[in-house]
Amino acid sequence: MASFFLENQQIIYIVILSILLGIEVISNVPAILHTPLMSGANAIHGVVIIGAIIVMGHAHSDDYLALILGFLAVLLGTLNVVGGFVVTNRMLEMFKKKK
């Protein structure tokens, strides 16, 4: 237990601080922004695509399962990122002229 904590101290700090930061960042959101915010957060978790790039990028050229699944993962991750940011932008364009 103690060694786990000591070895992973920095990650533990990142996790705790990120959680608190997430809570803080969302305080005081007007109801009308709930959905664009949800959409923006959706796009941000598309960062998972980086894991897919790592998987596929370091797959051996004869590991077909890794290559095919890796391709699929990168494709899906890209959909999340691109679709997410574009949809969010469209939702927010409606606020452009007014406020």
Partner: protein, 463 residues
């Protein structure tokens, strides 16, 4: 050098996510926040392709990676641009599912390459798989429900089965992590299948009106799945992005529940499905509604001092926001004061009505939030309810048996006259009767919102 650039890019990415998310919580900075986060994402992705190394080897298979990204960009862009504003929540759910699937596949491939490792490693891989899969299948079902392709299915038995399934999944997980030899490699497929099943069954019973809350919950789940990918690769930007979304997404879900005055537990377990039609007070079958003609409506409105329009999902479906703006302008020409009363969950998602009306160039100050609209109801001459139902249902205030009891609503019955524009007497999203329709002050104007409003505008021109 390249490690430095890589880690620096990850730091930049993390900062853009944090700042971008903060900016997204205010109307003035929201657009910039979105673009900022997108830019940071781009930098992190590019840096990974260029500089990432594993055991000293740089990223290979670049052609395939770029091809997959190219295809994803084209398809994602087109899908996001083509979708109608009314279908936005479905899209958010769909893209969320894509992220979840991505996380699950990462775990799949990693386990396939390295089926053995420490308990910590196995825990991370399997949790990424489970959470990603639940999020994926759940999001697809949510997409189907909002698109009205999937019906609600609910039963007490299902609730218990889901609980059992969840316990089972975590039981198998514990075995797989601490006693891997016992279950062997096929545990991967077992966990995958059970998780996908759980995602489906978890979302199935939840009523359509609660979907935005569920999508927000699934959104934060995918964030957590992404974070597990971050643990796996010791990748700071995946960690930050994932946990930020997991945490912020959870708070957002709670905020959405508060706006409906329902607890999250209530949404997940006690869905509308069970209590719906049975719970409402008494029978309304023998009550009749009063109808009003277009001409009379026009006269009533033209000579009113103050008119409040309450938009709902029916407005969105009929795409009547532009003609609604026409009505507003016509009435103002006649010296009537017109405002729009917006309920926080009117439509299919928070902010839905605001977005539609903004698209129709309705000036922002005319959109009044519920807390400000309710007190001025008794000085309002006419309230025109356009395709809204549950958000103006008095049962929320006076019928403890009603599924929507306790939800804050727009008290339109305090005004002098209420005109309800609806296609038919069919129930709204919550599937319950609305006593407002039988109220002495209420008159019904049946028809498609766009048509009715159009005819109303013509009548006003003649007055």
């Amino acid at each position: 050098m390249s490690t430095f650039l890589l880690e620096l890019s990850y730091l930049i990415g993390s900062i853009t996510f944090i700042v971008g998310l903060k900016q997204l919580s205010s109307p003035d900075s929201a657009r910039k926040g979105n673009l900022l986060a997108a830019a940071g994402m781009g930098i992190a992705i590019l840096a990974t392709i260029l500089f990432h190394q594993k055991d000293g080897q740089p990223v290979g298979n670049i052609v395939w990676i770029v091809a997959a990204m190219g295809l994803g960009t084209v398809v994602g862009w087109m899908m996001a641009m083509k979708v109608k504003m009314t279908a936005m929540p479905q899209m958010v759910s769909f893209f969320n599912g894509m992220g979840g699937a991505c996380a699950a596949i990462i775990s799949l491939v990693e386990y396939h390459s390295h089926p053995e490792g420490s308990a910590g490693y196995l825990l991370i891989v399997f949790l990424g798989l489970i959470i990603g899969s639940v999020s994926f299948s759940g999001s697809i079902v949510a997409y189907g429900k909002l698109d009205e392709k999937i019906k609600d299915v609910s039963s007490k038995a299902l609730t218990y089965f889901n609980l059992l399934l969840l316990v089972g999944i975590f039981g198998i997980l514990a075995m797989a992590v601490f006693q891997p030899a016992v279950l062997g490699g096929s545990v991967l497929w077992v966990l995958l299948t059970l998780s996908l099943l759980y995602g489906v069954l978890f979302v199935m019973p939840i009523g359509g009106a609660d979907m935005p809350v569920v999508i927000s919950l699934l959104n934060s789940l995918t964030g957590v799945a992404a974070a597990f990918g971050g643990f796996l690769y010791n990748n700071p930007v995946m960690l930050t992005g994932g946990i930020l979304v997991g945490s912020a997404g959870t708070i957002l879900t709670v905020l959405m529940c508060k706006a409906m005055n329902r607890s999250l537990l209530n949404v997940i377990i006690g869905s509308f499905g069970g209590g719906g039609a049975g719970g409402a007070k008494g029978a309304v079958g023998d009550q009749t509604v009063k109808e009003i003609s277009l001409t009379d409506t026009a006269i009533l409105c033209a000579y009113a001092g103050k008119v409040v329009i309450v938009p709902g999902y029916g407005l969105a479906v009929a795409q009547a926001q532009h003609i609604c703006h026409e009505l507003e302008k016509k009435l103002e020409e006649k010296g009537v004061e017109v405002t729009f009363a917006i309920h926080p969950v009117a439509g299919r998602m928070p902010g839905h009505m605001n977005v539609l009306l903004a698209e129709a160039d309705v000036p922002y100050p005319k959109l009044v939030e519920m807390e400000d609209a309710n007190p001025s109801m008794n000085s309002t001459d006419v309230v025109i309810v356009v395709g809204a139902n549950d958000v103006v249902n008095p049962a929320a205030e006076n019928d403890p048996g009603s599924p929507i009891y306790g939800m804050p609503v727009l008290k339109v019955w305090d005004a002098k006259n209420v005109i309800v524009m609806k296609r038919s007497m069919r129930a709204g999203y919550a599937g319950i009767e609305n006593e407002l329709f039988f109220h002495p002050k209420t008159k019904m104007l049946f028809g498609d919102a766009k048509e009715t409003l159009g005819k109303l505008v013509s009548e006003l021109k003649d007055l």
